[in-house]
């Protein structure tokens, strides 16, 4: 699969993503934003495009707004050996939908996500999930070999790895 970096981030595109050194390190040349609502939001697309174009890589394969389910068919249809995409998902559900539609990911960065649930588990300060999302994350952990917290370039940092067994130690909020 031509996806070299993938991330769950509720804010999708922002400074932390656009200025990440990982974009250069992984020679990213295109971005896939997998979110149904965004694929229909022209104003938000303008903002995200401007931010990504100001990043430190040249995105000659473009910025593509797709539904999570549409990512796999897009990559199959426009298959290119030169493609090195960054894929961004708004939530766990979106990443799971993309995988269920056929997308293969070897690594997925758990970047920024704060559940709207009253009772949530803080896996990290910027990654807080509700009970349903915790189940989805566990399903995801069986389908993606490496789930890691923090920034995009924390992939090789062992302390950033998501380990389902460590959940018992995590902090529970609002319960």
């Amino acid at each position: 699969m031509p996806i070299v970096l993938a991330r769950i981030d509720q804010r999708i595109v922002h400074g932390q993503v656009a200025s990440s050194p990982a974009l250069e390190d992984f020679h990213v040349n295109g971005v896939i934003i997998a979110d149904k609502a965004l694929s229909e939001d022209a104003a938000q697309k303008l903002i995200f495009n401007a931010t990504l174009k100001a990043s430190n890589v040249s995105l000659n394969l473009g910025i593509h707004y797709l539904t999570p389910e549409g990512v796999f068919s897009f990559l199959t249809e426009f298959d290119s050996p030169k493609a090195r995409y960054l894929a961004l998902f708004r939530d766990i559900k979106g990443a799971l939908s993309a995988i269920n539609a056929g997308l293969k990911l070897t690594a997925l960065n758990l970047g920024n996500y704060v559940s709207a649930c009253q009772s949530k588990t803080a896996l990290r300060n910027c990654f807080k999930v509700g009970p349903e999302e915790l189940k989805e994350l566990d399903i995801l952990s069986h389908q993606v070999s490496k789930l890691y917290f923090g920034s995009l370039d924390s992939m090789h940092n062992s302390s950033a790895l998501y380990k389902p067994a460590s959940l018992s130690k995590s902090l529970t909020e609002g319960s």
């Binding site: 804010r11 595109v13 803080a122």
Partner: protein
């Protein structure tokens, strides 16, 4: 008078305001919003709504100053843009903020876009590679050149 809302990552806005208050003592009518790690987007919106509401009480137009263009602080500010009522200016630095505080007071009838444009210009002018454009000479070089003033004399 144009109201100011400073929207930045973490405590940056509060620190900008602290410095401005130190310089001017009366940097009033300036709201701050801290966009913090680990917050839900609804919390960002609630903070923004509160700041815009507070700033809007005078009925004057509002200039939002944010830090990084494309960053979350900027992204959460953009939906508030309203022609002649609310403008967003990104890339805030101390020069920009100071200009906004001074000029809104000095020119009470200044237009919102006019103020934003002036602040952007002033902020850019304050960004210098300081070794370039200034001829700094050593004391030895200055000897024996009576009457010839060099750039370092002005410091």
């Amino acid at each position: 008078m144009i109201e100011l809302v400073l929207v930045c990552h973490e405590d940056l806005a509060i620190h900008f305001l602290k410095v401005a208050e130190f310089l001017f003592k009366n940097a009033q009518n300036c709201q701050t919003v801290a966009i913090c790690e680990g917050e839900h987007p609804d919390e960002h919106k609630a903070k923004m709504d509160a700041a815009i509401k507070a700033a809007g009480q005078s009925g004057g137009p509002i200039l939002i100053l944010t830090d990084l263009f494309g960053g979350t602080a900027c992204n959460v500010s953009l939906p508030y843009i309203k022609k002649d009522k609310v403008e967003v200016l990104s890339g805030v630095n101390l020069a920009m903020f100071i200009r906004a505080i001074q000029w809104r007071k000095r020119f009470p009838d200044i237009g919102l876009v006019e103020l934003a444009t002036e602040c952007a210009k002033y902020a850019r002018e304050g960004i210098r590679v300081c070794s370039q454009g200034l001829v700094l000479s050593s004391p030895e070089e200055g000897k024996g050149k009576k009457g010839k003033k060099n750039a370092s004399d002005s410091f």
